[in-house]
């Protein structure tokens, strides 16, 4: 999912590096919910772990709208992966009943209907499963603020506390390449801004010769991000690159 408002918020750009291993150790002690405690207790790799040794999990959520405060999640897709393999065969998908009604517009985007949602459980009921699947993995997303803010925002009213986790954001990796290019002396002198490359998932994928997938299915989008990350690493990083250079 892509929302311009989210990009403009502070935090969309990587800031000071977090020591996620230490932070997970601390959170495991302070978390009150049992499921959340177990999630943190599963631990996190250190920042100097080479990418080839990092267990990864591509994540995507579909939502009723774009405001993490007002809108809710209707589905979560998870695809485990590493640099060698995207284990689509081990992927997981949940349809959820959000606490806000489905807008007609969102139905047309993600194709999940009222009747499916009515039959679906509340996130609270499957939270243990979801957290268990995520445990021990570094998450891979395209546009981290959506996943972070929606997961965090969904947990607070349900268990009274939020969640924090490291992500590798394939959109941010594309932005690093395409948005931080020096403009060039001549362009600078003339005040010209070269056209910016799109970092939307579908356009980013096209640059790596990845096929066009129909967007807005949590599982397909998670798979699409997973493939994009493999492509980015193959082209621009190495299996030995420490994970701290990519995650935030």
């Amino acid at each position: 999912m892509f929302h311009p408002k989210l990009l403009s918020q502070p935090g969309a750009v990587a800031t000071a590096e977090t020591d996620w291993r230490k932070r997970f150790e601390a959170l495991a002690l302070s978390a009150r919910d049992e499921r959340l405690r177990a999630y943190y207790a599963a631990g996190m790799v250190g920042g100097d772990t080479p990418l080839s040794a990092v267990p990864l999990m591509a994540l995507d959520v579909e939502t009723t709208g774009l405001d993490p405060v007002k809108d809710g999640m209707v589905s979560i897709g998870l695809v485990p992966m590493n640099l060698e393999r995207i284990r689509a065969s081990a992927s997981r998908h949940w349809i959820l009943k959000p606490r806000v009604p489905l807008g007609e517009a969102s139905v047309t985007i993600h194709g999940i209907t009222d009747s499916q949602v009515m039959a679906a459980p509340d996130l609270k009921q499957v939270l243990g499963e979801v957290l268990q699947a995520m445990a021990g993995h570094v998450l891979v997303v395209h546009c981290r603020d959506i996943e972070r803010q929606f997961l965090n925002g969904a947990l607070r009213p349900r268990i009274g506390e939020g969640i924090a986790f490291p992500v590798i954001d394939t959109m941010e990796l594309e932005a690093r390449l395409h948005r931080n290019q020096p403009r060039g002396w001549l362009n600078w002198a003339l005040g010209r801004h070269p056209p910016q490359a799109s970092i939307r998932l579908v356009d980013s994928r096209a640059r790596y010769n990845l096929p066009r997938y129909r967007p807005h299915h949590a599982l397909t989008d998670a798979l699409a991000s997973a493939e994009l990350l493999q492509a980015q690493v193959a082209h621009r990083f190495s299996p030995d690159t420490p994970v701290r250079e990519l995650w935030s």
Binding site: R85, S89, Q125, Y208, T220, A231
Partner: protein, 629 residues
Amino acid sequence: MEAPAMQDEQLEILQFLQGQPAFAALPEEALHRVATSVDVRYFKAGSSILESGQPAEFWFVLRSGAVEVFRRDGTLYNRLTEGGHFGEAGLLQKKKVRFPVVALEDTLLYLIPEAIFTELFDTQEAFADQVETEDRTRLRQVVSRREESNQLMSATVDTLIGREPVTLPQTASALDAARCMTEAGVSSLLILEEASGSAEPVMAGIITDRDIRTRLVAGGLNYDTPVSAIMTSKLVTVEHNQLVFEAMLQMLRHNVHHLPVMRHGVPLGVIALSDVVQYESRNSLFVVSSIFRQSSVDELAALTADVHASFVRMVNEDASSRMVGSAMALIGRSFKQQLLALAEAELGPPPVPYCFLALGSMARNEQLLVTDQDNALILDNRFDPARHDAYFSALAAFVSDGLARCGYTYCTGGIMATNAKWRQPLKVWEGYFSQWIEQPTAETLLSANIFFDLDGVWGKTEWAEHLRKFIARKAKGNSRFLASMARNALLRTPPLGFFKDFVVEADGRHSKAINLKRRGTAPMADLIRIHALAVGSLAQNSFERLQDVVAAGVLPPGRGQDLHDTLEFISTVRIRNQADDLTAGLEPDNSIEPDKLSAFERKSLRDAFSILGDAQTYLKFRYQPGRST
């Protein structure tokens, strides 16, 4: 939560697979299982995807990008793009990667686990067909062609030289040249230029039979004309270490039929186009010529290994069943002829003339390795048993025992010249055939079938010719006879097909192996023979008979070609199976276990059996008793 519902699965993967030919025909449940077992991997352009020899764990389908598949010798084997697949060779054979694969472009691959691939391949006919025809049959041909076959491609020209070059100085006359060529029995002469001093003579040109015809005789020149005036002085030559194949190209390119073979500027000999053309079949021709050089049964029996070697070589060179069948029949006929020559040398000349007959597959030029001897004797009508039969009985015994020693087992049905019943004067043979044709009974015809394929191999072979015409005349349009023959022909039916490692019979029974002769080629030959007799064809070979049958219009349109292909295919599988047995050091036979067949062969055999079954039904309908033909 429950297991994800259908629409929640990997939609992209599912829909992509649905659009690929290999998966198009899969039931939804199977397709769904594939889609949910797929793993994914991205490869950057230029990176190695598979290396030869690593364990084969997946079958790969290209989702996007392009890859190149290489042979083990590093040459390009295939280039694939979206929807292409690879890795099946490794999975189907040794579970090791056979062909290295490299990403030509940035490539996204779907990985299908070995277990799923194998299950689909074994249980889903349409899937197996698609994968097989896409790759493995082609691959097998390519591999066998490259690895084992065609010594034409690797033999050097000096292996073809039979003798020293025959030469004349350029001062010799055309008449001298013609005499010299006749004496030496050659079709070309090298003409030498006398060199000064001690230097080697230099080649000035070549003259051939054709030069004498076109330039001398047709040109109206005097026989005293010096050869230099009619020779070809622009010489096309080959070096001794060039390939036979290259020599052939030279001849075609320059339109010449003779090439001097040179070593260090000195001619070693001359090779003719016929040498090159015959090279392919040289082994079987060599066996035949050595058969005629042997002077005892022991020596003949020692040639069995050569016969086997020439059989295997022909198979490896992808000879058609017809080529193999007639080469093996030629060899078998030669054994008979040489044994008869040896018998006459031992027993003395025959008291009355005779014709030694080959029957069955040898007469049809469809002989393979595993064959029993079916033969008979036509004797002169003056034959008097009391005075002459001791000789012919001894002759028949000599030949029959000799053939048995050379690998042609005795006929269990006693259809051999050693049986007095099948050692009869021509008029008795005419009587036999008249009775079989005019008063047919199922029982008599059951054993008589084989006599309707007959060929004279020695002596008065025109009598065999006479009998063939006699049969053709009497059988044509004789509905009662044809109906009886047809009834017998329906006794041997093909199986239905294959399931797992079993042969499935029409009644649902399973058997472990199939006799491809008894259940395939023999019923084919039977039904083709009946149609041939119905139309009065004099041909003996099944393919030739089929041509006559098609020309006579007794088959529904297209059926002739189907029958031709069916016979060729079943024969080819049978032939290859025998060659494989020989190569593996086993006793060759006609029996084949389904697990030895590739899925492509299984599928094609099933088609062949079904065509054979239909053709038998048609035979029954066409030659119903009382139906006018």
